[in-house]
């Protein structure tokens, strides 16, 4: 049973990662990052259940808090991007290169 749960959490993680890499819309990227961390959090919970030690869940608490604050800052950046170039497409922002 451990493998099954781990499969789910790893799957969620990988989907989040892929989403962050391929999507152009900053908000979708934000959501997939959120999904990534959620998948990793699930791994924590799975581990805490199978090793029978509560601290995994306590750690999930902190991870969730951090994820939330990250999303907040991400949205602040999204707002700035929108105000600046009226678009949240990350490929419009490539002036810094080489």
């Amino acid at each position: 049973m451990l493998a099954a749960y781990m499969f789910v959490s790893v799957l969620l993680f990988a989907i989040g990662a892929t989403g962050a890499m391929i999507r152009r819309n900053f908000l979708i990227v934000l959501m997939s990052l959120e999904l990534m961390i959620n998948g990793a959090g699930m791994a924590l919970i799975v581990m805490s259940y199978f090793t029978g030690n509560i601290s995994g869940q306590v750690m999930f608490l902190f991870v969730a808090a951090v994820a939330a604050s990250e999303t907040a800052v991400g949205l602040a950046i999204a707002a700035m991007m929108y105000k600046n170039k009226k678009s949240v497409d990350i490929n419009d922002y490539t002036t810094l290169k080489k």
């Binding site: 908000l27 934000l30 994820a67």
Partner: protein, 168 residues
């Protein structure tokens, strides 16, 4: 026993399907909906893993607060522009390739994972309540991370306000 597996399968399908939905849909609003579905699925899984409090937290914080925050942010922007954006950036096939690569790596790790499951399922709750167990451990040994999380939230608050405040 088989009922548990069936429920597990449904919830897992919800979580993964929701995730997949996010990265595929064109319109970010519909993506937000998929995200909610995924979070509900994972909350269910948490319940199965005797992490009732975390499941509640997941539902309220993730499904509720974060998603709502994103949607509100979307409303501030002109719906048409953000909806009409192209879906994938150029050379996205590379992204997919690497995503699958990472997936394979981690699936191998997940499959081969071996942990001592001697204490499986035990001492996750004191006198039947999961919250009490968490509370006990949280304030006994994890007090410092608790304080630092306070600082995280504080910085995020100040930062978000500073960055988006109109008149400085």
């Amino acid at each position: 026993m088989s009922v548990e597996i069936v429920v597990f399968a449904i919830l897992a399908l919800m979580a993964v399907g929701g995730g997949f939905g996010i990265i595929v849909t064109k319109n970010p609003f519909r993506a937000a909906m998929w995200m909610v579905l995924s979070f509900i699925g994972s909350a269910g899984l948490f319940v199965m893993l005797d992490a009732v409090f975390i499941a509640m937290l997941q539902l309220i914080v993730y499904a509720g607060a974060i998603t709502v925050m994103i949607v509100i942010a979307m409303y501030t922007m002109d719906r048409l522009t953000i909806a009409s954006l192209k879906r994938f950036n150029n050379q996205a096939y590379f992204g997919a390739l690497f995503g699958i690569g990472i997936l394979l790596d981690f699936i191998v790790i997940a499959a081969k994972l071996k942990i001592n499951t001697a204490q499986m399922g035990k001492n996750l709750s004191i006198a039947g309540s999961n919250v009490k167990a968490i509370g006990d451990v949280l304030f006994k040994s994890y007090l410092l991370p608790f304080e630092i999380t306070a600082i995280v939230l504080l910085i995020a608050l100040f930062g978000a306000v500073a960055l988006t405040k109109k008149d400085l």
